[in-house]
């Protein structure tokens, strides 16, 4: 009778160890990965809150019958921004551009240039940073 009990206890004990091992093996990596994703999301949200830009010094020299657009973006936030991932929209349409720097550091500015734009009159310029923060500027082509 005692031996039966010992055998049953041993079987259940071994199965408990297997269960704990399986659970730890499956759940622990998931918890670590989820925690890393949460930290990344927290950092992205924090970066967005700390990102701010200001469009200044917009000039529109003529380029034949069209015009070029030169302007400065000043980083008034505290996050380093990657200018190649900026989006420039003029009257709602995305434009190709060049810039004088790959990174826009806090309290610094980078010059942007969009060439050979058609049209006249008042235009709305929108600049969106790599993390989705935007600034608008209205200018008139003279």
């Amino acid at each position: 009778m005692g031996f039966s009990l010992a055998a049953a206890a041993a079987i259940i004990g071994v199965s408990t160890l297997i269960v704990v091992g399986t659970a730890v093996e499956n759940i622990l990596p998931t918890m670590i990965d989820t925690n890393e994703s949460y930290d990344d999301m927290k950092n992205r949200a924090s970066d967005q809150v700390q990102t701010d830009i200001n469009i200044t010094s917009v000039i529109t020299p003529s380029n034949g019958s069209n015009y070029d657009l030169n302007f400065t973006v000043y980083n008034t936030g505290s996050v380093v921004l990657e200018t190649s991932y900026f989006n420039i929209l003029i009257n709602g349409t995305v434009q190709q551009f060049t810039s004088t720097g790959s990174y826009l550091y806090p309290e610094n500015e980078v010059y942007f240039n969009v060439t050979n734009l058609p049209g006249a009159g008042t235009r709305i310029l929108k600049v969106t940073t790599d993390n989705g923060i935007s600034d608008y500027y209205e200018y008139t082509i003279v």
């Binding site: 079987i11 199965s15 998931t30 989820t34 989006n87 929209l89 009257n91 709602g92 969106t128």
Partner: protein
């Protein structure tokens, strides 16, 4: 009489081993299923945390191309976004846009990149609301004016 006692012990032993084995089997099976489900749920939560996007259009100037309206979708999350009619659903003013009526210029976009959505819809002049529901039901709303 002696054999009966031994026989009884053997029967008890076998029965206890069978019962303990059955209990262990059920225990292991249930725990494996639960831990697999938890792991899957963790993966989904991880995907939700990594996914984020926004519409970057100028709300007063929605560009058009033929009969299509163009919307720019920017990936501001931490992982590559698959941009297809299966992964994204569009609603304009609360009405779902048929999957045949919109398409993306790219099949996927890396973090910080954008893609253009061509939406073929007839919209009246005035204010409208576009809701984009992406992977893991992450969504973004965008109010614009035509």
């Amino acid at each position: 009489m002696g054999f009966s006692l031994t026989g009884t012990h053997v029967i008890f032993f076998i029965a206890s081993v069978i019962i303990a084995g059955a209990v262990s089997g059920v225990f292991i099976a249930v725990t494996t299923n639960v831990s697999t489900s938890l792991s899957d749920k963790g993966d989904r939560v991880q995907d939700q945390l990594d996914t984020d996007f926004t519409i970057i259009n100028d709300p007063n100037n929605i560009p058009t191309s033929g009969s299509d309206y163009l919307f720019y979708l920017k990936n501001i999350g931490g992982k590559k976004l698959a941009t297809t009619n299966e992964t994204f659903q569009l609603l304009i003013d609360g009405d779902i846009v048929a999957t045949a009526n919109y398409n993306f210029t790219d099949s996927s976009i890396q973090p910080s990149e954008y893609t253009t959505i061509y939406v073929e819809e007839t919209l009246s002049a005035g204010d409208h609301k576009l809701k984009i529901v992406g992977p893991q039901a992450i969504e973004d709303e965008f109010t614009f004016n035509i």
